[in-house]
């Protein structure tokens, strides 16, 4: 992996060096994929949105401000901010179609009905469950949570990306986490009791600690 800063990579790409662009994609796709998925949902063509974002980056790469240049961390923040904004817009464009949204909601509702809700089910497919709880939140809460918890963007950066003010971001995160905490309550309880005594659950825990592969 290249150790060049984002600013250097952008400059190289503008000079026509493709590896620089590939490196930028490698670096940032994870955050953007999560962002897009948080808005559009796991079953959506969110990957294509991210693809389009990178096409946009290729086509008209942004100019970083003079004060950011030379400081890798600030370059990164600025570029990410731009990328997140573009991702957000692209997602919003996709979501604007009313038909689509209705269907998406329908799909979520029906998949829940098919599972018989989770009160009746032993809840250990942790990932699916967390994802589902996240899906239940309104889009704006989901988005800020994804940016903060998985994207590790600060409140301030999130405010900039979403065009909201910092107070609103804090409020959305609080409300979202509260709802999430309630939704995941049985799961958290289960995990706690598993840590006290279960053997099987420890296996699950081991797996989870591995994080995600790709």
């Amino acid at each position: 992996m290249s150790s060049d800063s984002d600013g250097q990579l952008l400059r190289q790409w503008k000079a026509g060096q493709q590896p620089a662009f590939a490196e930028l994609v490698q670096r940032h796709q994870s955050a953007l994929l999560r962002h897009a998925r948080a808005i559009l949902g796991a079953g959506s063509p969110y990957e294509d949105v991210v693809q389009d974002v990178f096409l946009k980056l290729a086509e008209s790469p942004p100019d970083l401000t003079a004060e950011a240049l030379g400081d890798p961390e600030r370059e990164r923040v600025q570029l990410l901010s731009w990328l997140h904004k573009v991702t957000r817009n692209a997602c919003m464009d996709t979501i604007r179609s009313d038909t689509r949204r209705k269907r998406r909601e329908h799909a979520v509702a029906s998949s829940e009905a098919a599972d018989g809700g989770h009160a009746s089910i032993e809840e250990r497919d942790t990932r699916a469950l967390v994802e589902r709880e996240l899906t239940k939140l309104p889009v704006d809460q989901r988005e800020v949570l994804a940016l903060r918890l998985m994207g590790e963007r600060s409140y301030k950066e999130i405010a900039e990306i979403t065009g909201k003010n910092v107070g609103t971001v804090g409020w959305l995160i609080s409300v979202g986490l509260k709802a999430l905490g309630e939704g995941l309550e049985p799961l958290l309880e289960g995990r706690k009791s598993a840590q006290r005594g279960g053997t099987v659950r420890i296996e699950t825990g081991m797996g989870l600690a591995q994080g995600e592969a790709s």
């Binding site: 990957e47 294509d48 949105v49 809840e123 609080s174 509260k178 840590q195």
Partner: protein, 948 residues
């Protein structure tokens, strides 16, 4: 905004590190005063932790999407590239919408799925490979693999344009093998055709009908490259890498990764440093000295903190290979909080014992700390520092008291538990098999194990730049993964081979040897096999959607089909939230039916392994045939989350069915949350083998190369016992087989279950032995006994008669390491690497560089062995990762290790005759006292934070 809401926001900001100084103070004040607030923060942190843990890993686009992207931007940016034209934008937006719609439609279809043989092939473009495979289902396996390979290669090199062209030309009947030179023209084609005709129609269709009618759907799938690609890659991307996965220099490897190992952030610890007190464990000779007050069995310390000490001692059995640190008894991350409290309680207690103003202040302080202790991350991480801080505030007498507590905690964790065998003590301390002293226990007994999953899964981890868990490394499976090198028996079921050479890696080099014991099973020819009745139980839970797992499973099944003939029968059970039978046992002659059933599998819902297994067994029992091999093959990512999930309980339910003559094989797919233990245990209890498949290459290996071994059992309850001669071998250690150990006395107890061996399997066991070279006896230095029973006869009388064969190991057959057979050297090298991955206590001080050098030498001698080449590349790539994670054993850790060894020797001495015992025990008592003093001193230094 209510107060409550305000407070919750503050807590969120606090937990996420967003609070400023004033807010922090405010929160901390609230925390100190209110248990409710503490509970709320704790819950918040748990929620945040859970979300991060489950969804926080890094993600990347599917390979196709990335390739498409890269080819779209290549060469360097154009002023006005093709994709920015108005038409293309329209086309793109249509494709996005259409793709989504198509995906929805597939969802509906999946829900209403019923068997309609003809409809499968044209379901969508993502199933193209399937239809191609179907049309070629009679083709031989090599061709099939080649086809899949080709398809996958094509996918990689396809640019966005080429793919569009491919799909378009299929839809419009143009030959799809257009040469690359046609690409330029194709772009025009795309620009003109797509938007002008299909886009408006499709949008119309979307507006009117839901789901779109068939005619429009096929149009969509013909033109909807983006749509199909999108949904496929977002859900079950249709092509996984076949070749190059493991060599994958181009693969992105998350460096370090979120390795689940708790010791992973350990500082780089080069493999140097003296092996801890090697002289203490040199067998009987060093045991000859005197006197003790430590009578084993009644040595439980009589102190008020017994409960606490016991708890600490039990917190991390078997996994305490890490050096002693303040944290080493808080093995998992969660109990950390409790431990802080324990420690503070301990301090408080010592404070209580001697009263005074100063202590009252201290009490105050600790109460405050206690209030924050389990909520503030700072304290949780730095409880050592906190303890040190508090320690300084104590009077010398109190310090001594705290030190006493700490010492007792350490000593108790090292002491023998009532009736604990010496080898169990060793295992509890370090999680590895110990060196056994031959004079005390000349017999080593274990069950055969032919699984290979551990190696395949570990390789997957390492390729992705992560270190597998210690518990996941089963040395024997590493060694057995590689192709057999000794000839199968000329007559009879088994042949035993042994090799003996000085080891390359252990100390002391001149007297430590490695003995390889190989049990090789007879090889049945394919023509000789009985007809197969295979009942597949396939995990179709939601998690199978990830990382191409479902496709891998389907491809694996298709590969297997190529090995079957009309006399064989196949049944399929799919399970997710519930189980359903998709295909009862059906002759493979009806290939269309079987293929269609495979095509039906769609991931959705929970993982109810229990229901799946039950129905799988029902399917198998319904078609139970005495003249066939009846086998259930369970394919899953192993994360059971509904129904019974405990492997031992699940296994219990298998027992009665197993006795009817139905075997169970398990095949693992996927990773991250892959539950290796469940699958390994199931296969073990189900009398079958456990494999792991992560791509087509591995599928081919398991299904084609090892086909006969997987389906044709030649012997069951195969047990191996090696008897060493104490005069020639002072001590020995078995590498691996930790969970296959059998009590020596049970070797000839035919009621005790052991492993099954399939046709042509090679079971290898490695022993490190220390020889007494002064003894030049002609007698064998060890004798290998092998005992097994014939396979069960379905519906026949239980044949419990066992056969036993024996093979001596002669000292005269020894060679040098270089002179040993390549199979031997390969086994030793692979086994040694597994030892490193296990962070085995025995591997301390051994050199990974030396191992790599030996591997290279060997590699040059066996250019044909692709598996070994891959292994060598893997070791080289993972070298830094492994080194970074070796436990760093400091002086205190070494002292504690020495103390532990002393305790084990003490336990061993108990088994000697009375007179010698007394002498040894006296001597150990003296050593014990010295060591306790040393540990105490080191602990004191640690507490006062004054490293020498």
């Amino acid at each position: 905004m209510t107060m409550e809401q305000k407070l919750h926001e503050l807590l969120c900001a606090y937990a996420l590190g967003e609070a400023d100084a004033a807010q922090k103070t405010e929160v901390e004040r609230a925390l100190a005063s209110s248990p409710e607030v503490r509970a709320e923060l704790a819950k918040l942190e748990e929620t945040i932790g859970l979300v991060r843990e489950t969804l926080g890993g890094s993600e990347s686009m599917s390979e196709e999407a990335e390739h498409a992207l890269m080819s779209a931007v290549s060469p360097a940016p154009r002023a006005n590239p093709w994709y920015s034209s108005g038409w293309m934008r329209l086309a793109a937006s249509f494709l996005v919408v259409g793709g989504g719609a198509l995906w929805m439609h597939r969802l509906y279809e999946a829900n209403e799925a019923h068997m309609a043989p003809g409809s499968v092939a044209e379901r969508d473009a993502g199933d193209q490979r399937k239809s191609r495979v179907e049309s070629n289902s009679k083709a031989d396996p090599e061709t099939l693999v080649a086809q899949l390979d080709q398809k996958e290669k094509a996918d990689r090199f396809d640019s966005r344009e080429a793919n569009s062209l491919d799909q378009l030309s299929l839809g419009s009947g143009v030959g799809k093998d257009a040469p690359p030179s046609a690409q330029a023209a194709s772009v025009n084609f795309v620009e003109e055709q797509v938007p002008a005709e299909s886009a408006p129609k499709a949008e119309e269709a979307l507006a009117i009908a839901e789901p779109p009618p068939i005619a429009h759907r096929s149009l969509l799938s013909a033109t909807g490259y983006a749509g199909n690609k999108l949904t496929d890659s977002a859900t079950t991307s249709s092509s996984g890498p076949v070749d190059g996965t493991y060599r994958g220099s181009g693969d992105t490897v998350p460096a370090g990764g979120a390795g689940g190992d708790k010791t992973s952030p350990a500082p780089a610890a080069p493999v140097v440093g003296s092996a801890p007190a090697p002289t203490l464990l040199t067998g009987r000779k060093s045991l000859t000295s005197s006197g003790s007050k430590l009578a084993p069995g009644n040595e439980r310390p009589n102190n008020a903190n017994l409960g606490l000490a016991k708890k600490a001692a039990e917190s991390a059995p078997g996994d305490s290979f890490a050096p002693y640190t303040w944290r080493d008894t808080q093995a998992s991350s969660r109990p950390a909080a409790d431990d802080v409290q324990d420690r503070v309680a301990l301090l408080l207690q010592s404070a209580e014992n001697a009263k005074g103003e100063r202590l009252a202040r201290l009490e105050d302080k600790t109460a405050q700390l206690k209030g924050l202790g389990y909520t503030s991350g700072e304290l949780r991480d730095n409880d050592e520092a906190t303890l040190q801080q508090l320690y300084f505030k104590l009077s010398p007498a109190e310090r001594a008291q705290v030190l006493d507590h700490e010492c007792r905690r350490v000593f108790d964790s090292c002491r023998r538990r009532p009736n604990e065998a010496p080898r169990d003590m060793f295992f509890r301390y370090w999680g590895d098999n110990p060196f056994e002293i031959t004079a005390l226990d000349p017999l080593s007994t274990f069950s055969a194990d032919v699984d290979t999953a551990s190696y395949a899964l570990a390789r997957r981890y390492l390729v992705e730049g992560r270190l597998p868990e210690k518990a996941q490394i089963r040395t024997e499976e590493f060694v057995n993964y590689f192709k057999g090198d000794v000839p199968p028996p000329t007559h009879g079921t088994f042949a035993i081979h042994t090799d003996l050479a000085p080891t390359r890696f252990a100390q002391p080099a001149n007297s430590t040897w490695t003995l390889r014991v190989v049990v090789r099973g007879e090889e049945l020819a394919k023509e000789e096999r009985k007809p197969l009745h295979l009942s597949f139980v396939i995990d179709c839970s939601g998690s199978m959607r990830e990382q191409n797992r479902m496709e891998t499973v389907k491809d694996t099944l298709r590969l297997l089909l190529t090995q079957l003939n009309a006399a064989d029968q196949v049944g399929i059970v799919a399970f997710s939230t519930e189980a359903r039978q998709i295909l009862p046992l059906t002759s493979v002659a009806n290939r269309g039916l079987v293929e269609t059933a495979i095509g039906q599998l769609e991931p959705d819902g929970w993982t109810n392994s229990e229901a799946g297994l039950r129905m799988g067994y029902e399917t198998a029992l319904a078609g139970l045939d005495a003249n066939s091999t009846n086998r259930v093959i369970f394919l899953s990512d192993g994360v059971a989350n509904k129904g019974e999930t405990d492997p031992s309980v699940l296994a219990q339910t298998l027992k009665p069915i197993r006795e009817k003559g139905v075997y169970l094989n398990t095949i693992g797919v996927g990773m991250n949350n892959h539950n290796d233990t469940l699958l390994e245990q199931l296969a073990d209890k189900g009398d079958g083998m456990c494999s792991y498949v992560d791509d087509m290459r591995e599928a081919k290996r398991v299904m084609l190369d090892n086909f006969m071994g997987s389906v044709e059992t030649i012997a069951r309850d195969v047990k191996i016992q090696v008897e060493f001669d104490p005069a020639q071998v002072t001590k020995y250690r078995l590498l691996g087989y930790e969970n296959r150990a059998i009590a020596d006395a049970d070797f000839r107890n035919d009621k005790v279950d052991a492993g099954e061996v399939g046709s042509g399997h090679q079971v290898t066991a490695l022993y490190e032995i220390e020889r007494n070279l002064a003894n030049t006896s002609e007698k064998p230095l060890a004798v290998v006994h092998l005992r097994w029973k014939a396979p069960r006869i379905v519906n026949g009388p239980a044949n419990e008669e066992a056969t036993e064969i024996t093979q001596p190991v002669l000292g005269s057959q020894q060679t040098s390491f270089e002179g040993a057979s390549i199979g031997y050297r390969r086994a030793v090298i692979v086994g040694q690497f597994a030892e490193f991955l296990r962070r085995s206590v025995h591997a301390r001080g051994r050199s990974l560089d030396e191992l790599i050098a030996e591997a290279h030498k060997l590699e040059a001698q066996m250019p044909q062995d692709a598996d070994f080449h891959e292994f060598v590349a893997l070791v080289e790539r993972s070298k830094q990762l492994v080194l970074d994670n070796l436990p760093n054993c400091d002086e205190l850790c070494q002292a504690i290790d020495a103390y532990r060894i002393c305790q084990i020797q003490h336990a061993q001495a108990e088994r000697l005759d009375r007179e010698r015992q007394q002498q040894i025990v006296d001597d150990l008592a003296r050593q014990n006292r010295e060591m306790e003093e040393k540990i105490r001193e080191l602990l004191r230094r640690r507490l006062e934070n004054s490293p020498k």
